[in-house]
């Protein structure tokens, strides 16, 4: 039972009856919702039983590991397996939800004014030159 190897194994989401391929963000949200309803720290198997659809155990583990990497869940070792718990950090959860919005909306920059827009190929070089100029000591205002 080596759960740690489940990282990024991408087990196929088998048996989704609607044939609709669910996005990673959606699965993460579902797993997180189950964990938040849990009475306390629970095993991955407990989560798997309460998820809609027949998700493979390795898929659930992958999602849990990913959530753990994002600090959305915490885990404690219990014997040979882990017990999982939703992180109580409200800001962390908000960050996770916001990322799902940003990643899921390709046109977000047209709606939410972003601080910086994407750079064109030669922009990076140009910016570094400009930045060097901006970091140099300020020219004498008297001069």
């Amino acid at each position: 039972m080596a759960e740690d190897t489940a990282e990024e194994t991408h087990a196929p989401v088998a048996g989704d009856p609607r044939g609709r391929r669910r996005g990673q963000g959606e699965l993460e949200a579902q797993v997180l919702a189950v964990l938040q309803r849990a009475p306390g720290p629970v095993t991955a198997g407990w989560v798997q039983e309460r998820l809609d659809g027949d998700l493979a155990y390795t898929t659930v583990m992958t999602i849990l590991s990913r959530l753990h990497a994002k600090d959305a869940v915490t885990r404690t070792r219990s014997g040979r397996s882990y017990l999982w718990q939703a992180s109580s950090d409200a800001a962390g959860l908000a960050a996770l939800r916001m990322r799902r919005v940003l990643d899921g909306e390709p046109d977000r920059d047209a709606v939410l004014a972003s601080f910086v827009t994407a750079l064109l190929p030669h922009d990076e070089e140009l910016l570094r030159t400009l930045l060097d100029g901006a970091c140099a000591p300020a020219p004498d205002p008297e001069g």
Binding site: A113, L119, L120, H122, L126, L130, L131
Partner: protein, 316 residues
Amino acid sequence: MGVFVFLPLVLPLTALPIARLTEQHLHPRGAARLLTAISIVMALCSAVCLALIGVVGTAQIPGNPLPDSWSDPEVRAALPYHESVGTAALLVLAAVLLALGRTLTRHLRIRARARRALGRALPASSDVALLPDPEPYAYALPGSPRSPGRVVVSTGMLAGLAEDERAALLAHERAHLTHRHHRHLLATQLAGCVNPFLRPLQRAVAYSAERWADEESAQAVGDRRVTARAVARAALASHRPPAAYAAFPAFAAPGPVPRRVAALLGPVPTARNWPPAHTPAGLAALVAALGTAASALSALNAAVALLLVLKAVTPL
């Protein structure tokens, strides 16, 4: 009248040179406001024109609900190739309405989703939502009647900036919220849906709004170089090599971000909206203003003329 009825649809072609001139020579605040106003006027004229051409063009088709007098020879004389053109105009109008609806719902959906994502979990006392996320991003999330606007910024973004640069970033985003730049962006996007010739104005307004916020930020932190550094560092931090462009070295013109930084490192734009007429800048602005006024007036004129023709033949 002849082909003049089509003028409102074609005149927005002048948007491109107008956008260029205005963007380069006006204070970003004036440029954003002027260009937004032009977009709205020209889009309205285009829409009215399409509707009138559609109505007049299809008025003689049997079974339509329009007054019989609208298919008078005199009215039809105002429209060349009335029948096919009229049908086409109605189809285009339907497409325009569809595009408007989609843009508007997408806009509202993204805003609502982002607001829901923040939720009530974060302290309402601050207008800044600091989200623990290694990915660098910063957004101004416009408010709604029930919730105030928020500045959404990730820890990944702040990590790459010095203390004074963070203040510049927050001031920039707050300027977006205070001056409701999202309304300018939405208005020009909708205008671009009505008439694709207005799309250059959309990009010009987006750029002017960023420049406007940059200037406000520079004023708030008291040093233009700090804001310039903040913009440059943030852009470099969130930069991923664009694979799509790699094959086209011809796109060598600097993008909006380096232009913003260069503008911040340059002189303060004059607070007056209008540069003196004897300078090249003033002359360019004057030409742009005259061109705009002429375009808007002709568009308005054509739309009103069509309306008057219809009104004249409608028995009351």
